[in-house]
């Protein structure tokens, strides 16, 4: 063990200092710019680059241009949250039912549906957005550009999350629990509802959080399928004004979205751990990455 201090010079892989340096450097590079942007949302002046003192001016202090008083910023925030909630409420039940159904149904149709599901997960978003835009503008459907079209697009793009997460969980549960329930007299549907569904709860909560956080960050689909500026959510607002002399109110808007997403994740993770502990399935934060 001689030369402990110089040992890593000769064998850099002995202790992964280089890997530590890369990881720490990456984290700084990845998070510091965002922290700077958050910091400048509290700037007292109009600049997003020169610090002029701390204030809440761009959140509610300024009577015209703060997030609270500027109607267009306010509307964007409300639209983002509305889309997040509606989409999550539709996507999660639809995706969970699809996952349970595909898990119990074997044949060409279900395996084709499974392939389509996975395709919807990896297709470049712009392709789906343009295709749905063509549908809404060329086919007589009871869906108009605006909230309804946006929700349809988002549900289509997000449905794979709950489906994939729940299928992965189903694979680890196996069939013995519902067989036991049915031996004890439950109907197939009762077995799903009273035995399988509770066991799936951690995966369902995780996918709900994933869908919500992903939807409030979505940009491509919601932009093409928004009717007019009244249904443009936060991300579109940022895109439209980022290069056109914005005030720190834009940073404040982005910061509010960030806080919302973080709150959703922390809350979801707490629920996830709580349910997981009760059902004896204690997953780490890794289950929250969407990688089943």
């Amino acid at each position: 063990m001689s030369g402990r201090r110089t040992g890593w010079w000769r064998d850099p892989w002995r202790k992964p200092r280089i890997l530590v340096a890369i990881t720490v450097g990456y984290l700084l590079w990845s998070l510091l710019p965002v922290l700077v942007a958050v910091l400048f949302s509290f700037n007292d002046g109009k600049s997003r680059t020169v610090w002029q003192g701390f204030s809440m001016r761009w959140y509610w202090g300024d009577p015209y241009r703060s997030v609270w008083y500027d109607d267009s910023l306010h509307a964007a925030l409300v639209q983002t949250l509305r889309l997040g909630i509606i989409t999550t409420l539709i996507t999660v039940p639809l995706g969970v039912a699809l996952a349970i159904g595909l898990d119990r149904w074997h044949g060409r149709l279900p395996s084709g549906a499974n392939a389509a599901l996975l395709l919807s997960f990896v297709i470049p978003e712009i392709l789906l957005a343009v295709a749905l835009l063509f549908v809404v503008t060329n086919v007589a459907l009871p869906i108009a550009l605006g909230t309804s079209a946006q929700v349809v697009g988002l549900v289509t793009y997000q449905i794979a999350y709950p489906a994939v997460l729940v299928r992965a969980r189903l694979a680890t549960i196996g069939t013995q629990y519902e067989e036991a329930a049915m031996d004890l007299g439950a109907s197939p549907m009762q077995a799903q509802r009273r035995v399988i569904l509770p066991m799936l709860m951690p995966a369902i909560v995780a996918s709900a959080v994933l869908v919500f956080a992903d939807v409030i960050d979505d940009f491509v689909i919601v932009r093409y399928l928004s009717g007019d500026s009244s249904t443009e959510p936060t991300s579109v607002k940022i895109y439209n004004t980022a290069r056109a002399a914005p005030t720190p109110a834009l940073n404040a808007l982005a910061t509010l979205m960030l806080v919302t997403a973080m709150l959703a994740v922390v809350l979801g993770f707490a629920i996830y751990r709580w349910i997981g502990r009760r059902s004896g399935h204690d997953g780490g934060i890794g289950s929250f990455t969407g990688e089943a």
């Binding site: 680059t49 039912a97 149904w105 395996s111 395709l119 392709l127 780490g284 990455t289 969407g290």
Partner: protein
Amino acid sequence: MSTEDRGNRFLGPVLALPGIVWLLVFFLAPLYVVLAVVFGGLDPIFRTAVPIWNPAYWDTTQMRYVLEHIVGPTGFFGPALLRTAVYVVTASLLCLVIAFPIAYYVARLAGRWRGLLLALLIAPFWISYMMRMLAWVNLLANDGLVNRILPGQVDWLSGRSEVVVLGLVYGYVPYMIIPLYAGLDRLPQSLVEAARDLGASRTSAFFRVTMPMCRPIVVASVLLTCLPMLGDYYTSDLLSGSPQTSMVGNLINETVLTPGQTGQAGAFVLLVLLVSLLPMIYYVRSVSRDEAGL
């Protein structure tokens, strides 16, 4: 399949049906609508697209127009397509170079720091892409921090390829780190230990055991990063805003809302779909194989 013998046979179809219908109506059928628009006509007065639903009457004018203007003297679409390929390949390789060591470290070596590191690595997932680009717009502005720290006044945000590629790397690296991490985390450590027991050095165990096992994980992660990048137009718009850095996504974005050019947008959509079809099928097949192996 004893479960299916007990009246469970209809449960699968009943539960799966709503989702399958949804995917049919809002995912597969729209792709056909794109075909009908691309091979459709134009309203002579309003310049709006007139889709032709019957393939027997399809009109190839719009598709030919796009294809004829890719190469040659009138090939004004060519440069953007080529640029897309160069940007996506460069950015993906840079992503891999950054992501692999980090994912490897966190998955195999980080020990008690793992939970915290993983949370920090996932954090960019919850920060909107637009916010992260906005952060760089602020930093790279003419009076921004970068220009004040570095010597010289550089106009970063007008048509610089390197800024757009770095923006892409910044934007998409998290999408590579997480699947890489998940894959590396699942690799059996015992094989590496066996190689070490049999006399391999750390380096040779890494290159001869770990690396070959990583190949499918690396391919899948690169695909997951490349595919969304192919449709990106906002990174170039925000970090450059110049046609000198436009990608195929920008071509789609500029034509789709222009009267008379929606068919062209559809044609670009078909081109991107064709290019991404093979990687997507590869991804679907590799995931399905994993599921079958569970």
